[in-house]
Symmetry: D2
Subunit: 342 residues, 4 copies
């Protein structure tokens, strides 16, 4: 049994972690901390966990997480980088769902996140938790920073193309549409039901924080600098991201078989038959990325359609997938749940 | 031209007032105040009013509303009762969309709203702005307090039955379902899209603030005390209330013609043909209450189905209807817009 | 391993059965029939089952279901009563999710379903598949007819009150709100997205087919005739039913402990603490009924709030629960999935 | 008064025409035909028109439309081209909302619409009803074919760029997201609430019928052939299209002032201030196209964000705008309604 602690269990990613871990047969849930909910029963805050999780939120200051084998941070920026060093020193492995351990270039990190990085050594050591890219490094990692939700699906969708060097990687376009849960569980006007329902809009045109990790990841895969025009949109659904990715082919290639070969062995990436159009529904609640690749009109433009559940493959599911890899468990353990349809 | 001022133009009821007044041919919009938005152009906050409303929000303290003929208060409790006396003294008529001038029993008011009433004389004088009940008094009123959204539809639906004294008024049941805009434009967790969408729940079981005005109004119509079990629910739509009302007949009556007679001359109450089932859609964006009356299985239980748009007949539309009455305008002026379907 | 066949796998209840059975460790899925989809891979029609269900739909005429241990019918009225006799004779047990085996009074059945019953003997023998009411009979049943979705939640909510004989069972009111999936996967205008979204309406005022089984079940529990005013509504969500139940107490009782005692041992009924208000969200995708019981204002009216997922505890989950009971498996086997929140 | 007939009043575009025309002060609504609804009162089918439209649907065969000044066709392909010649001969002007009179190249028309064109002469004469492009020709036209909903917003968004010849017109990308009402009021599985809600997907990758008119219109504006990769998506809202348009600048230009100059005099195109992100909400129910133009990161990629209501500026509103132009009325007459927010 892996002893697990969760820091920050009151947001959507935290609650989703609990949903997964409560049914994971190799996990013992030891502690869930929350400053503002300390003392409250988890099941009192999240009625869907009644009868399945009987822990109480504990005060972060009063909780000894060093007895855990692994600690997940489902926290805003800044918390994980503060607390990880002590845990790592105590032999605890760390999986940060937030942004603290995603970027290697800490000047870039500071630019996007507006504060200096407090744990530069661990940031250097940390592994970017996209198993389809870094499975072997994840296995041995002491610290893993899992990708942002957009970053997961955009990188997975472009990966076969940039690795094979068959597109103009200097002019990639990622038009991404996210459900509202991607904005988190925070009391903010623009994500009220009456604002976001029956509505659609782009946002983040001035620059979105997931862009630098996309550039870092795809640049590594391409072995050179890439450029991506990344436009996120808010769509009136709860979960799910649909990325529509555009790239111009620089040489002729059978894109369908390129994608099938690249992901054929991946347990959580599903390349659909040629001509398919995945819907976000087909991955809702599941740790899965489904994608289809097209060449509309047979021209030189490749269009990749890729979907994930932003809270599963885009956050908590992927984090548990990393944990499974790190502890030598079957990679799919605890992640066998099927998508909820309809 | 009626010179109109609006206090509190940044909530949903305020914005809806602007949508109506901007197209009302007998109205000159003079001032819109908002403490936190003072100085900002209305059209910068509400893009749908670009090109139609070119006022700026002004600071409440620096705005002379005494030059208005009428001032609407679309404010939380407490503001209107504070400011109305001076305006009334200056000859300005006041229409409060909030709760300050709804109840005659000020001890009751204090119990439900948690503060002493600051303007007891005006509260006594004020007219409850339900035209179908108090049209004549509204005509001459200096101060009108328009009903709550639930209170509008529940009273209209029960009115013919209690006036005619044909039901057990001691055991009325109002099962009401509201769209989320009824909760206002406030940054609160439980009305986030990701909380309220694809979800349904009851609330307010401990007592809802619209209950005392329902009891006051129906009690007046019945000329004796009535009792109502009132259960509001939150349903995942933006606008609209559907009230399902239950009462037991105490004597035989043709309920269909009772309702048609009661509301036959009303411009904004539409009694549907027998057997109908109104949907909230049919009044979305319109100042209309549609209703149907049933006796399931032909028994002694009367079931009234009644719908309104909570922001129109349930708030701003009704307020403008009152204004039209107060200023001798055709009652439907500016309120001719049809419901938006689909 | 229980060998399972499914007749009618293309509707929502059928697909939900497959979602459950594909992960049920004691089940071997043998055949799924569909006249119109015969030959097609299940995973080609339901992308969320790709990689988990590799069966093809088979032609009903060409499929030998007699090798199954149990056959589920997720079919419109008329099919199960036609085919069940032969299967039962062959020693196969039958679980009908449709309406064929719900009513004992076949004249009543014919009145509501508009055709004569073709299998009166099995209808007499069949057990009504509400485990909280008939667990022992289900254990030995050859044929089980599982309740309608509304019927499940309305009966569970009223059960403690009528069994204990503490309410006026001649004037029960069930105001129920259902998500749109309850109307099935049929191409019909009124359940189009553009008709049902951002809308709310009552329907079935002329009489709903779930009413007779509610009367049969509650009448049995009360040991006398009961009367229920049952008003279903369509609410713009996909899954979930919220029943708001009204009854007048005829004698003083502690309703909270009455409910807790009644359901304390039930694995799939969760009585919430006093003062709670369950949301449909908390059971979405889970085989669970959560409920709370209230006495608004401390009067003689009891209000029960009860929620289920119409496709789980209201259909396929309950059917698998019955199967587990019939085959001596742990009742929760394969039904451990937690609700999907948000 | 303009005497107006409507052929095909039972779909969404037809109902939306009625909503507009019922309040248009210069219009007399003479006839609404519908084969399947002949004889029924319009207000019985569309409850939101109760009290405003008292016509009945009439049988197309038995209705003399030659007494109208103008006839709108809100019909599937094939009907307008069949009936227009006789009407035009009788001096009636025709506005077709469907596809019959959109394309000049009839071989292309036949390829996309799967039938030979029956009225080639009128097709040649017909004017493409995009006022921002063809206002003068519309004024005198006997037959107008109004653009498809996608075609309206995609052309308006690209127009300033291709007219000014500042982008690579051989590699335009239009990533468009439409509400579900764009698919029409037809009983089809994929647009059921339970299929389309809480879901997002691309479609039409094999080629969408609005593409050829986009190419025709932009090609005309550019005075040479253009190429557009056009990917439509279905998003879970009722009304609205959001087009995200991508083009690479071929020379330096101030895009903001280019757009402002191009549309400065247009009554129904609103160029937002630099940095804006329009939401579909801001045009819901209004005949308006709002747009913003960006250069993310200051590079050579121009991104245009443009929104319309698919039933208003994308269909019926635009058709009435054309009618106003054709009959010398103020272009905004009857189209002054503001968007419904929230």
């Amino acid at each position: 049994m892996v002893k697990v602690g969760v820091v920050g269990g009151t947001g959507y990613a935290g609650a989703e972690l609990l949903r997964i871990l409560a049914r994971h047969s190799e996990v013992e849930l030891c502690a869930i901390t929350s400053r503002k909910e300390a003392g409250a029963a988890v099941a009192d805050r999240f009625a869907h966990l009644r009868g399945s999780v009987d822990l109480r939120f504990s005060d972060p200051g009063a909780t000894d997480l060093s007895r855990c084998d692994v600690v997940f941070f489902a926290t805003p920026r800044g918390i994980a980088m503060e607390q990880a060093p002590r845990l790592v020193e105590a032999g605890v492995r760390v999986i940060a769902l937030g942004s603290d351990f995603r970027l290697k270039d800490l000047a870039e990190w500071q630019k996007w996140y507006g504060m200096p990085h407090r744990s530069p050594k661990l940031a250097e050591e940390a592994v970017y938790g996209l198993p389809e890219m870094n499975r072997e490094q994840i296995r041995k990692a002491r610290v893993v920073g899992t990708p942002g939700c957009y970053a997961t699906v955009v990188q997975l969708g472009f990966l076969p193309l940039v690795e094979a060097d068959v597109v103009d990687a200097g002019h990639l376009i990622a038009d991404a549409k996210s459900g509202v849960s991607g904005a988190g569980r925070k009391a903010q006007l623009h994500i009220l039901f009456s604002e976001a329902a029956d509505n659609f809009k782009a946002y983040g045109l001035e620059g979105h924080r997931h862009l630098p990790e996309i550039l870092q990841g795809l640049g590594g895969a391409a072995r050179r600098q890439v450029a991506v025009t990344f436009i996120p949109h808010l769509t009136p659904m709860i979960r799910g991201i649909h990325a529509t990715l555009y790239a111009r082919l620089t040489r002729e290639v059978d894109v369908q078989s390129l994608f099938e070969r690249r992901f054929g062995q991946e347990p959580f990436v599903d390349v659909l038959p040629a001509g398919s159009q995945p819907d976000t529904r087909s991955v809702r609640g599941a740790n899965e990325c489904r994608m289809a690749v097209h060449r509309p009109g047979g021209g030189d433009m490749v269009v990749v359609l890729a979907v994930i559940d932003n809270l599963m493959k885009g956050a908590s599911g992927q984090a548990v997938q990393c944990m499974n890899i790190m502890f030598g468990l079957p990679e799919t353990k605890g992640l066998e749940m099927l998508a909820l349809v309809p």
